[in-house]
Amino acid sequence: MTTPAGTPPRPPRHQVDPRAVRYWLTSGLISLVTVVVVAVVPALLWEPVRPWFLGIGGLVALLVLPQVLVAPWLRYRTHRWEATETAVYSRTGWWGREWRIAPLSRVQTVEAKRNVLHQAFGLAAVSVTTASAQGAIVIQGLDATVADDLVAALTTATESTRGDAT
């Protein structure tokens, strides 16, 4: 194949914060523990449903397992972001890959989100939405101050291009 027929989009410039690995690992472990508890507790308490709960619980745990064993590190390698002069650009995924581009002229809201787990690691997620219900870009695992700076910069940049954006 000739260039550029075989080339995927270039990687965005910035990597996420290294602490994001621990964040993803912890949230994966929380899901895994939740699944195990939900399956094991009723199985111990009530014998007739034991095989069902253990069987289905085991299956779900098996599906969650990659989230703990490989996903955090693969995500860290893949997840990248960038705010160009005219657009927000991200790459995500650990199994598949997804590149998302949102031109600043179409951006409607920019916000930093911080749940309890984010706060524990000093991280934040930046969410950028457009008028399309399918158009949101979420950048996970940013350092909290980097996220605040990004939100401030994007808010200033989008204010100058505010229109109907539909």
Binding site: M1, A5, P8, A87, E98, I101, P103, A133, T166
Partner: protein, 511 residues
Amino acid sequence: MSTPSDPTREPTTEVPWERLDVRIVLAAFLGALVRLVPAALAWWFFDQDDTAARVTVAVLAAVALVHPANEALKYLKVRYRITPGELQVRKGLLVRSAHSVPLHRIRTVDITSPLIHRLLGLAVLTVGTGSNLMSDPTSGVALAGLRAPVAAALRSRLANEAELASPPATVEQPVRDDGTVVELRWAWIVYAMSGVWLLVGALSVGGTLFGMASAIGRGDWLTNGVAAAATALGVFAAVVGLVVFLLVGTVAGAVTFVTGWWGYRLVREPGGTFVASRGLLTTRSFTADRARMRGVTLTSSPLVRLFGGGLARPVMTGVSLRQTMNESAALLPTTTHDEAVRLGDTLLGSRLLQSLDDGTVRLVTHPPAARRRAVARWLIADAVVAGLVALGTALWGWPAWLLAVPVALLPLCVLAGRAAYRALGHALVDDHLYLRRGVVIRRTDVLEVRGISGANVTQSPVQRWLGLAHLVATTAAGEQAYRAVDVAVGDATVLAAALTAESSVVTFTGA
């Protein structure tokens, strides 16, 4: 969008508040009677001791009291007015809430009038705004119960206020002097009869009959009757069943078409808005602004395609979820392919679909790897069927000859996969994105690039291996995301860069 405010304190008090029409109470009572009277008669006539029937009648009687009372309350509570900049709707007696919809936000106006409303001279006016239809349930404001002339006057006023930004059509399409774009043609009933109703018609009719019979405690009549008929027919039961199924489906399609599209007329008004009015029992009139259209989708199911038909649907911003669900936002029925192309182009004001048919725009063929993936998908589906049948024969003693079915389907699956590949195509020409796909339901999307609010390139591991990717164009209109399936990954990159005017994402390092 809708900001709660205290409208009584606003300076625009010189515009008086209007009420809904008081006849909505009568309409609600008559509507409830229409259901109550037959049920009560059936109960009285058949079996007065039946519990199910008694409960049904009691519930319907309660509805006949509660619903009119509720409408009376609504008459007291709801008021509306149009100030120079806003449509304001106020609700509540003690605790007052208010919706204010800026007039420039109004994208669609839709007037619906069910039979009883029509007899009383009433209509329901629904206004659609351009917010995210999934996340904002208040995106549509409905005034349920205005006098028909009042609703019509409101519609033209709102449409006039809202369409200031409408750009002139780039290519004038043939339209009659009075603005009529198209009127109903009875030949189109063929497409309604061979469309989706062919499959769901019998299920829907059967379900309704059974529901009605159960409500008066006679559900077993139907089930026993069907069982008796099946036993009497013996080996012919399957054949007769299929014929009845298709017959009922065809008739249901025809009835739906007649009631839904009776008196259909699509008119272009001087300002550029389109008004589609239709309906036999419930009349609908849907107003859509040309400035709100971001593209057009042309779809066809296999039988409809065989008879040379197609359905053109404009891709619009500001159609509320409710309008999408109850189909009141439909501007066109399924017509002949050529007519669908002409109508779609008229709505968009440019020869977009026509240029595909006459070869002015040629779609890019997808790479051969896409064919491998399409065929593999159909083969995997066949393998799943084979696996289930094998499981059935091993565990539940199904006859072994059933295993021949997936084997016989094998060549068909290969053909279907190849056909699915041939259906794929895309092009980006003159600020328009063309997308085509689908082997069963064939669809062609044409989107204006100005309506696209972002682009995504996605790759599964298999696609990475084959050098393919999906390109997703996100938009505030229509289905919110439109997909080019299995494009060469480099093409997806170039397209994403072009759609977002972000050329920096393309790398030439692989040269």
